[in-house]
C-alpha cells in the first residue's frame, strides 16, 4: 500500500525556509507544494496563538524561530528573485520556439489561396 506523503508540520521555520530554497534551486515542485501546505498549517497555528494567550511559551518559541530564520529568509527571497528572472527568460524562449513551430507548420502546408474563395465579398 502506498504510504501517504503528508507534509511534516513540526519543522522549525528555519528548516522550512532552507528546504524551500533548496527545493526551488532544483525545481522540485512537489516538495515546494508540500512545504506550502506545511506553511498553511503554521499559519493556522499562528492564528490560534493570536486568539489565545499561552503565557509567552509557544509564541515566544515561534518568535525565536522567526529571528533565527531571518538570514535564510533573505537568501530565499534572492533565490525567488533569481527564479523569477529565469522564468521570464524561459517564457520568452518558449514563445519564440512556439512561434517558430507555428511558422514551420504553416510553411509546411505550403498552400496559400491565390484567389478569393467563392462567395467572398
Amino acid at each position: 500500500m502506498r504510504e501517504l506523503n503528508l507534509p511534516r508540520t513540526d519543522l522549525e521555520i528555519r528548516e522550512v525556509v532552507a528546504e524551500a530554497s533548496r527545493a526551488l534551486a532544483r525545481l522540485d515542485a512537489d516538495r515546494l507544494e508540500e512545504l506550502a501546505l506545511a506553511c498553511q498549517a503554521l499559519n493556522r497555528d499562528r492564528g490560534r496563538l493570536e486568539l489565545q494567550s499561552d503565557g509567552g511559551g509557544k509564541s515566544g518559541a515561534l518568535a525565536r524561530q522567526a529571528r533565527e530564520a531571518a538570514g535564510d529568509m533573505r537568501a530565499f527571497r534572492r533565490v525567488l528573485d533569481a527564479t523569477r528572472a529565469n522564468l521570464t527568460v524561459m517564457r520568452r524562449l518558449r514563445r519564440l520556439r512556439e512561434g517558430h513551430i507555428e511558422y514551420s507548420e504553416a510553411q509546411a502546408r505550403g498552400w496559400t489561396p491565390s484567389e478569393p474563395d467563392y462567395g467572398d465579398n
Binding site: C39, M73, F76, R78, T83, R84, N86, M90, R97
Partner: protein
C-alpha cells in the same frame, strides 16, 4: 515521370533521408551523457520538382545534414549567472577566512586575532585596578601586560589579513594563464567554425566553443557578441576585447603598488575585472575592497587607542617623578595606514606609567582614572573602542551574510538554468512543455511559501515581543 520507376526512386530517396535522420537521432542517443553535447535535429529539403509539359512532378526529399539545437539567450543567461556564482563563491571563501580571524575560539588555524574585544576591556580595566593602588608594581606590570596582549592581537590580525591579501593576489595572478589558454582556444575554434561551409553544421565545434566559454565565464566576467558566419566576439563585461574575428587578445599582468594588476593591450583593466564577476572578480573584490576595508577599521582602532593613551600618559606624572614627559606606552603611529600592523608596546619600565595627574605626587591616581575612562569615551570614529570593535565585527558578519545570500541565489539560479537547458535541448517537445510546467509550478508554490512565511514571521515577532513585555 509518372512511372512506377519514378515512384520507386522517390520512395528510395525518402528511405535514404529517413535513414540519415535516424543516424542523427542515434548520434543524439549515443552522446546523451557527453558533457557539453547539444542535441541535433535532421534537416530535410524538398527536391526541386520536375516540370514536364506544364505538369509539375514532385521529386522526393533529401536529408541535408543536422542542426544543433541551441538557445543562445538561455546559454548567455547561464553564463552570466555562472559568473556571479563563481565570483561570490571566491569572495565568500576569502571572507569566511577573514571572519574566522575575528571569531574567538573559532578553531581556525588562522585565528590569530585572539579576542580583541576582551583585550580592550582587559586593558582599560587594568587602569581601573591601578587607580586603587597607583604605586603597586604588579598592577603596573598588569597594565603593560594587557597592553601587550591587545597590541599583539591587533598586529597579528593585521598581519594575517596582509598574508591573506597576498595569497589572493597570487591566486588572481594564477587565473591569467587559464584565461589566455581559453581565449586562444575560442579564437581558434571560431576560425574553424567560420571557415565551415554555410550549409554545414559546425555542431561539435560550437559545442567545444560553448564549453570553453562556459569555463571562461567561471574565471572572469565576459560578454559574447555573435558576428557573421556564426562567429563570436568575446569582451570583458566592461567591453575590452578578448576574442574577435578569430584572434585572441592576451591578458597580461604587472605589479602596481605591490599588487598584481591586469592589462589588455596596455590598458589597466583591474577595476573592471573586479566588478565583472567570475573567480577573478571574487578574488579582486576581496583583495582590493573587502580586506582593505577590514584593515582600515583595525587601523582606526589601533591609531586612536595608541594616540589617546600615549597623549594621556604624557600629561601625567609617573612613579619616578617625570611630569609631562613620562613617554609613550604604545608605539606612536606615524600615519593611519599600517597602524594596526605596527601596533606594539614600547614602554618596558612599568614605573613610567603616569598614573598621577600633572604636578601631583606619585601617589595620585587621577591620570589612571582618566586613562580607564577612555573606555567610555567616543575616541574611535565617534564611538567607544569596544563599541567600535563590536560594530566592526557585526558589519563584517553582515557582509559575509550578504555574500552568502548572493552565492546561494546564484548557485540556485545556475542549477535551474542547467535543468532547463537540458530540457530545451531535448527533441521531445512534450518533455520541454513538461519542464516548463514544472518550472511554473515550482515558482508558484515557492511564492506561496514565501508569502505565508513572511506573514507568519512578521506576526510571531510581534507576538514574541508582546509576550516578552508582558
Amino acid at each position: 515521370m509518372g512511372t512506377i520507376n519514378a515512384a520507386l526512386s522517390i520512395t528510395t530517396q525518402a528511405l535514404d533521408a529517413d535513414q540519415a535522420a535516424l543516424n542523427v537521432v542515434a548520434n543524439n542517443v549515443a552522446n546523451a551523457n557527453t558533457p557539453g553535447y547539444t542535441t541535433e535535429t535532421p534537416n530535410f529539403q524538398e527536391n526541386q520538382p520536375l516540370e514536364i509539359g506544364g505538369v509539375s512532378y514532385g521529386d522526393g526529399v533529401t536529408e541535408t545534414g543536422a542542426t544543433s539545437v541551441r538557445d543562445r539567450v538561455l546559454t548567455e543567461r547561464l553564463n552570466q549567472q555562472q559568473q556571479l556564482a563563481s565570483s561570490t563563491g571566491a569572495q565568500l571563501t576569502a571572507l569566511n577566512t577573514v571572519q574566522a580571524l575575528f571569531t574567538p575560539d573559532s578553531g581556525s588555524s588562522s585565528a590569530q586575532a585572539g579576542d580583541i574585544s576582551s583585550d580592550l576591556t582587559g586593558f582599560f580595566s587594568s587602569f581601573s585596578s591601578l587607580e586603587a593602588n597607583p604605586a603597586n608594581n604588579s598592577l603596573r606590570e598588569e597594565v603593560l601586560s594587557s597592553a601587550s596582549t591587545l597590541a599583539s592581537d591587533v598586529s597579528n590580525a593585521a598581519a594575517s589579513l596582509n598574508s591573506q591579501r597576498s595569497a589572493l593576489d597570487q591566486e588572481a595572478g594564477g587565473v591569467t594563464s587559464q584565461v589566455n589558454s581559453l581565449t586562444s582556444a575560442i579564437a581558434q575554434l571560431d576560425q574553424q567554425i567560420q571557415s565551415t561551409s554555410p550549409d554545414a553544421d559546425a555542431g561539435t565545434l560550437e559545442d567545444q566553443r560553448q564549453q570553453d566559454l562556459s569555463q571562461l565565464s567561471q574565471l572572469i566576467g565576459v560578454n559574447q557578441i555573435t558576428t557573421e558566419n556564426n562567429g563570436i566576439s568575446v569582451t570583458t563585461t566592461a567591453g575590452q576585447l578578448l576574442v574577435s574575428e578569430g584572434q585572441s587578445f592576451q591578458l597580461t599582468t604587472g605589479s602596481v603598488d605591490g599588487v598584481t594588476h591586469f592589462f589588455v593591450g596596455g590598458a589597466d583593466i583591474t577595476a573592471a575585472l573586479a566588478s565583472g564577476g567570475g573567480q577573478l572578480g571574487g578574488y579582486l573584490t576581496a583583495r582590493d575592497r573587502d580586506i582593505p576595508s577590514v584593515l582600515g577599521s583595525l587601523d582606526q582602532l589601533a591609531q586612536s587607542v595608541s594616540t589617546q593613551v600615549n597623549a594621556l600618559n604624557n600629561v601625567g606624572t609617573d612613579l619616578v617623578g617625570d611630569d609631562g614627559n613620562a613617554g609613550d606606552i604604545f608605539s606612536e603611529p606615524a600615519q593611519l595606514a599600517g597602524s594596526a600592523a605596527a601596533m606594539s608596546v614600547v614602554m618596558t619600565d612599568p614605573n613610567h606609567i603616569a598614573a598621577a595627574g600633572a604636578g601631583l605626587g606619585t601617589g595620585d591616581n587621577s591620570n589612571a582614572t582618566a586613562m580607564a575612562g577612555l573606555a567610555a569615551q567616543t575616541i574611535v570614529n565617534g564611538e567607544t573602542p569596544t563599541n567600535f570593535y563590536a560594530n566592526f565585527v557585526s558589519q563584517l558578519g553582515a557582509m559575509v551574510s550578504n555574500v552568502q545570500t548572493e552565492n546561494t541565489a546564484a548557485n540556485a539560479s545556475v542549477t535551474q538554468l542547467q535543468t532547463q537547458s537540458n530540457a530545451l535541448s531535448s527533441v521531445n517537445l512534450n518533455d520541454e512543455a513538461s519542464a516548463m510546467s514544472t518550472f511554473e509550478r515550482s515558482y508558484q508554490a515557492a511564492s506561496q511559501v514565501f508569502t505565508m512565511l513572511n506573514t507568519v514571521m512578521a506576526s510571531v515577532l510581534n507576538l514574541g515581543e508582546q509576550a516578552t513585555v508582558s
